[in-house]
């Protein structure tokens, strides 16, 4: 075990990583076996200190309920947290997340899953919509209940993560038993030695998940800005702050995906000046208004959300990322080898340029 003072959130932890994703534009659901396979050739990009997956469309029978995935240190924390949950939410189902014992995965916390909906009376009293309510409840649990950590909180989607290599984490969570129209995955190479499961990726808030490879140099500028708006960056990781930025820009500020991309990976002023008038005005405007949310330093991220995903590189493209296609499937990964591991016949393999978002959407009504 690691020393307690090195637990996630106590120190800032930059990491290098592997990311991968697959999505069906037709909304066809796939088991988790493919995405696990894609992580194997990138084994060297992780160091066993964190791996995880996000699956979209995995809980169709509970599609109207928020699925909370929570790590607990022990049963007394669980009962404390459940008391809070019951006071503000209706819990329609509570259960252990099924896992498989593996020698490679040890020291697991208690891993629970709840399908919940906020109590109408509470929403009315607080004058909040259900998304904002759930987001605040997650912040509250993660910052005030020591030993409880909500790591997934969206509808009809879920995050599965652990300390270990990603391919082992996938087997541990029995992802072959889930079917999703979109999977994202992450293998972590932190430059510090935390031993905490909550620190693995993807990082999630509501249905937005981020997997990220890189180390952003703008971290504290981004963090100090986003914390003005009720977010608490408890983990001191890049992925956490990027997730909050995506949530803030899209859910709270109403920006589209491409607008979000032009904030966090804003084109250089010299590039903006060469664009047509209307576009120039718009990008200058966003860059000026949200200047503190520009992210610098190397990153490749995949932002997952209900019905799609967006991949984005930093504007200098300091991290690798490739895209491939086959029929209705789109693949994204740190390396082409990861794509070939899922689909050896993948076509149109290309590397998007820095700052150019790749947006893939599932056809309307198919998710």
């Amino acid at each position: 075990m690691t020393a307690p003072n090195l637990k996630e959130g106590k120190v800032r932890i930059p990491s290098g990583c592997a990311i991968s994703a697959v999505i069906s534009r037709e909304g066809r659901r796939m088991t988790g076996e493919g995405i696990i396979r894609s992580m194997r050739p990138m084994h060297e990009r992780s160091n066993g200190l964190g791996g995880g997956f996000a699956g979209y469309g995995i809980y169709p029978e509970y599609r109207d309920f928020f699925a909370l995935h929570i790590f607990y240190d022990n049963d007394s924390v669980r009962s404390e947290c459940e008391t809070y949950l019951r006071s503000v939410l209706e819990i329609v189902r509570a259960e252990n997340i099924p896992t498989r014992k593996l020698p490679a995965i040890t020291d697991e916390p208690l891993i629970w899953r709840y399908f919940v909906t906020p109590l109408r009376s509470v929403l009315q009293r607080m004058q909040l919509d259900e998304n904002e309510f759930i987001a605040r409840a997650v912040m509250r649990i993660n910052t005030t209940i020591d030993g409880a950590y909500v790591f997934s909180s969206g509808k009809n989607m879920g995050v599965f993560k652990a300390v270990g290599y990603p391919e082992d984490v996938g087997e541990f969570y029995r992802l072959e038993e889930y079917e999703a129209y979109c999977w994202t995955a992450h293998g972590r190479y932190p430059t510090n030695t935390p031993g905490w499961w909550g620190g693995a990726h993807p990082f999630a808030l509501l249905d937005r998940t981020i997997v990220h490879n890189g180390e952003i140099s703008s971290y504290d500028a981004n963090r100090r800005f986003i914390e003005m708006y009720g977010y608490k960056c408890t983990l001191q990781t890049d992925t956490e702050v990027i997730t909050y930025i995506a949530d803030f820009l899209q859910r709270k500020q109403g920006l589209s995906l491409s607008e979000t991309a032009s904030v966090i990976a804003a084109p250089f002023w010299s590039t903006i000046e060469r664009r047509p008038e209307a576009e120039r005005r718009q990008i200058s405007y966003l860059r000026t208004v949200f200047s503190s949310l520009l992210i610098t330093g190397p990153f490749s991220i995949i932002l997952g959300f209900s019905g799609g995903l967006m991949a984005l590189n930093d504007r200098l493209k300091l991290r690798s990322m490739v895209v491939g296609e086959k029929d209705d499937l789109v693949f994204l990964a740190s390396e082409e080898a990861a794509i070939c591991a899922i689909e050896p016949a993948a076509e149109n393999i290309w590397a998007p340029s820095g700052g150019d978002p790749v947006i893939v959407r599932v056809k309307e009504g198919a998710y």
Binding site: R12, P14, S15, G16, T191, G214, E215, S217, S218, Y219, D220, A221, N222, R224, F225, E227, M228, Y229, Q253, G254, L255, E259, A266, F268, W269, S270, R281, Q282, S284, Y285, L286, T288, V289, S291, S292, L294, I295, T296, G297, P298, R315, L316, L318
Partner: protein, 501 residues
């Protein structure tokens, strides 16, 4: 002549082997230190008048001159140091308030020198500014809390008025009157060439300089000198001067001797009359009054100009800044206690106010705690001495800095700290035509451009080292700073960790 109770501070040393009696030193010294005795065919010096401005040293063609600190010393005393004793002698002789100029010279901590900057190693690449774009462009002004959209869903793209700077530095306020016409011309031309701004100070805008309006910040101070509608509309922004770091809580005084025809016309006051700026604005006795002035100025300029409110860094600066941010100001300028001045009472300059580093850290954090940091930009000055200070200020949370002393140094100032006498041998802090003409605006503006160009190169190098390629990603990025030799309390106020942690 009464007894002089103390020896002159400096010795004028002339190497007689080198001196060719060309009498340049005599002609160059407005303090009348040097004198030629025709009978003896020899140069003599009256060191009691010497202020160590180094003009004679710089101009002597045979390098025969040097000015050194006199070693004629009072008996050492750690409590009663010689400056303190001499000040007592001076006041016992004059019965007056001691006057000084330029910034606080006392050995207070300089926090900039206790902050260290980060660099990338291994996990994150540093960026070479010679190979990759490195952006230092800054927009100052209020940012909307939420983007506006038109009915068709497209972004409105309408912003409140902004100042666009090519680098996060502006020339701080120095009035025409406190400095010369040629000094102003040098600043104005350099600001235009650099794509930044200079500031008129409180003395109005000379008619010749309206041409530089797009790069000018016009100031409105408690004396309202030279303020009229055309003046307000001439600049790119308006600054309300509430206070100044060198003399918080007091006003200003330009002696009538300096108010010649040109200054009289520019300031709109009679020739030869003293120009007195009251300590407070007499229409601003509280924060709601400030709001009225901010909006009056906005109306007078059709809401096209950002309004800056400049205050001195004083004890309660965080709450004051929060009040200003809520009063409609677009930009807050904070001036630290080491900021310069053309004249200030010595006791005020040396004992009132707080360091800008602490004020900046406290204000930036307070505005964030209140969720209003985006509604206002922060500019800090007093004293920013180098590009490293600029980078540290931005990392602590400033949008931009103001520099004045460094700009004057570029123009030739040697920090002799006697601006108040009006006898500046370098043609900067004087109105005497024979002295003013010594400052050539062609050369002066070029030296200012050189200095800022050099700083911008250095800022880019430092940013590249940190793996940051745009200045906005540095702003408030305190993780890029570490303290050295600071107490827990100082680190807490600065919001940074100690080196090694």
């Amino acid at each position: 002549m009464g007894i002089s109770y103390f020896a002159p501070e400096f010795e004028v040393i002339r190497n007689e082997d080198r001196c060719i009696q060309c009498r340049v030193c005599e002609r160059q010294c407005a303090n009348e230190v040097h004198r030629y005795d025709g009978d003896l065919q020899k140069m003599f010096s009256d060191e009691t008048k010497c202020v160590d401005c180094q003009r004679c040293v710089s101009l002597c063609p045979t390098r025969a001159m040097k000015i050194v600190k006199s070693d004629c010393a009072l008996r050492e005393n750690a409590n009663w140091d010689s400056d303190t004793i001499k000040e007592v002698y001076k006041q016992a002789g004059s019965g007056g308030v001691l006057l000084s100029s330029m910034g606080n010279p006392k050995p207070y901590p300089v926090y900039w020198d206790k902050l260290l900057i980060n660099a990338s190693q291994v996990t994150n690449p540093s960026i070479d500014p010679l190979r990759e774009p490195m952006e230092t462009r800054v927009f100052l002004g209020k940012k909307p809390t939420r983007p506006e959209r038109r009915p068709d869903g497209s972004l409105s793209c309408e912003l409140p008025p902004q100042l666009e700077l090519s680098m996060p530095v502006m020339f701080s306020a120095m009035s025409y009157g406190s400095i010369s016409y040629n000094a102003h011309e040098s600043l104005a031309r350099a600001a235009e060439e650099l794509g930044i701004y200079y500031n008129t100070g409180e003395g109005g805008l000379h008619e010749d300089f309206y041409a530089y309006g797009p790069n000018t910040i016009v100031q409105v101070a408690s004396g309202r000198f030279g303020v009229h509608e055309d003046y307000l509309n001439a600049g790119a922004a308006i600054e309300i001067k509430m206070g100044q770091g060198a003399k918080p809580g007091i006003g200003g005084h330009l002696p009538g001797a300096k108010v010649g025809a040109d200054i009289s016309r520019t300031r709109m006051i009679p020739e030869g009359s003293d120009a007195i700026s009251p300590a407070p604005h007499h229409d601003i006795y509280s924060i709601e009054d400030l709001r009225q002035l901010v909006y009056s100025l906005k109306q007078a300029t059709h809401h096209r100009k950002p309004v800056i409110v400049k205050v001195a860094a004083v004890h309660n600066i965080a709450a004051i800044a929060s009040g200003i941010a809520r009063s409609g100001a677009d930009i807050i300028a904070i001036d630290g206690f080491r900021g310069g001045t053309g004249a200030a009472p010595t006791r005020i300059r040396d004992s009132v106010g707080i360091p800008i580093e602490l004020a900046l850290a406290a204000v930036d954090q307070r505005l964030r705690d209140e969720g209003i940091r985006s509604s206002v930009s922060l500019v800090v000055g007093g004293s920013i001495r180098s590009s490293a200070d600029v980078v540290k200020a931005v990392a602590l949370g400033a949008d931009s800095v103001y520099v004045a002393t460094a700009a004057l140094l570029a123009l030739g100032c040697h920090l002799c700290r006697t601006c108040q006498t009006g006898k500046c041998n370098w043609g900067i802090a004087t109105q005497r035509p024979e002295l003013v003409k010594r400052l050539n605006p062609d050369i002066g503006s070029q030296r200012l451009v050189n200095l800022m160009t050099a700083w911008n190169h250095e800022i880019k190098e430092l940013m590249g080292g940190m793996g940051i390629n745009s200045i906005e990603a540095l702003r408030g990025n305190r993780l890029m700073l570490r303290g050295i030799g600071l107490t827990e309390k100082e680190l807490e106020i600065l919001g940074i960790s100690h080196a090694g942690a």
